[in-house]
């Protein structure tokens, strides 16, 4: 698994048992190690498909895990450590994309859909509630279809 080239191996890695974090990488300080794991889970392994560096056994992911731990050991904050990696690989490494105008549809879209849909439903119920009789009688053809369905 050590000899790899980005494009080709990505597919393989997705299907390979993930070795992920190894004991020799882990920090002695449990609080610091917990922070390192948290950060690692937020960072994408750039040569993998949809894996965080915490889950990936790609060599580059391991390098980044070690880097994160170094930064934390040096006293950097979580945010500063993330920024350090983003400065090198770009927003692409963030599994949680930044909230900015370009990603507003991503973040707000589903909520807008639910709220907009709800508003439309309310409007429709009010308008039609006034206009239409409560019960629309079945047409002859519909009645025939239903009767056939019920085996009549």
């Amino acid at each position: 698994m050590r000899r790899w080239r980005s494009g080709l191996i990505a597919a393989l890695l997705a299907a390979t048992p993930a070795a992920a974090v190894l004991p020799d990488e882990m920090l002695a300080d449990p609080a610091l190690e917990t922070r390192a794991r948290d950060i690692s889970q937020q960072l994408r392994c750039v040569v993998c498909q949809n894996q965080s560096i915490d889950d990936s056994d790609a060599p580059l992911a391991r390098d980044l895990r070690l880097l994160v731990r170094e930064q934390l050991s040096a006293g950097k904050s979580d945010a500063a450590t993330m920024d350090y990696v983003v400065a090198r690989y770009g927003d692409f490494v963030l599994l949680k994309p930044p909230v900015e105008p370009a990603t507003w549809p991503l973040w707000a879209g589903p909520f807008a859909l639910a709220i907009g849909g709800g508003a439309m439903l309310a409007l429709w119920l009010r308008r039609r509630g006034a206009a239409v009789p409560a019960e629309a009688p079945l047409s002859a053809a519909e009645a025939a279809d239903l009767a056939r369905l019920d085996g009549g």
């Binding site: 000899r3 080239r5 494009g7 040569v47 390098d63 690989y89 770009g90």
Partner: protein, 176 residues
Amino acid sequence: MKRLLFLLPVLAFVGLIAIFGVGLTKDPKELPSMLIDKPMPQFALPGIEAGGGFATAALRGQPALVNVFASWCAACPQEHPVLTRIAGEGYPVFGIAWKDQPADARDWLARLGNPYKAIASDLSGRVAIDLGVTGAPETFVTDKAGRVRYKIVGPISPEAWEGEIKPLMDRLRAEA
């Protein structure tokens, strides 16, 4: 009004397809470099043999290519003749041996020839991370001031050299 509502799904679909059409023509694997138009990150690395290696300062003064390679890299032998040609045409090529045992790198170059003006050994891979490298080979184009101007992911093809990179190098040479 009501008509418009029923038209909405198909309109949304057409819009979606249009966006997909554009998005799908891009290579999702290609990660744009964060370094474009920024100075090359500072480093000073030893060589693959005693007395070799170079530091960032060595890149100043002339446009240069900085090529990240490794003896274990599958695509590098394919690129190697192109690099040899580039060096032969008088453009300086610097090499960074990425996570490669110096002995392995030496053997590899002894077999294929050495096109590099200088080679730095990045055994830990730390400098590669500073450069935002995701795989080998990757090549950076730097200008006279040592700023990164362009990045090529994957092996450089002869066509890419002729059509894109060489003209760029010549432009950079002409820059003040």
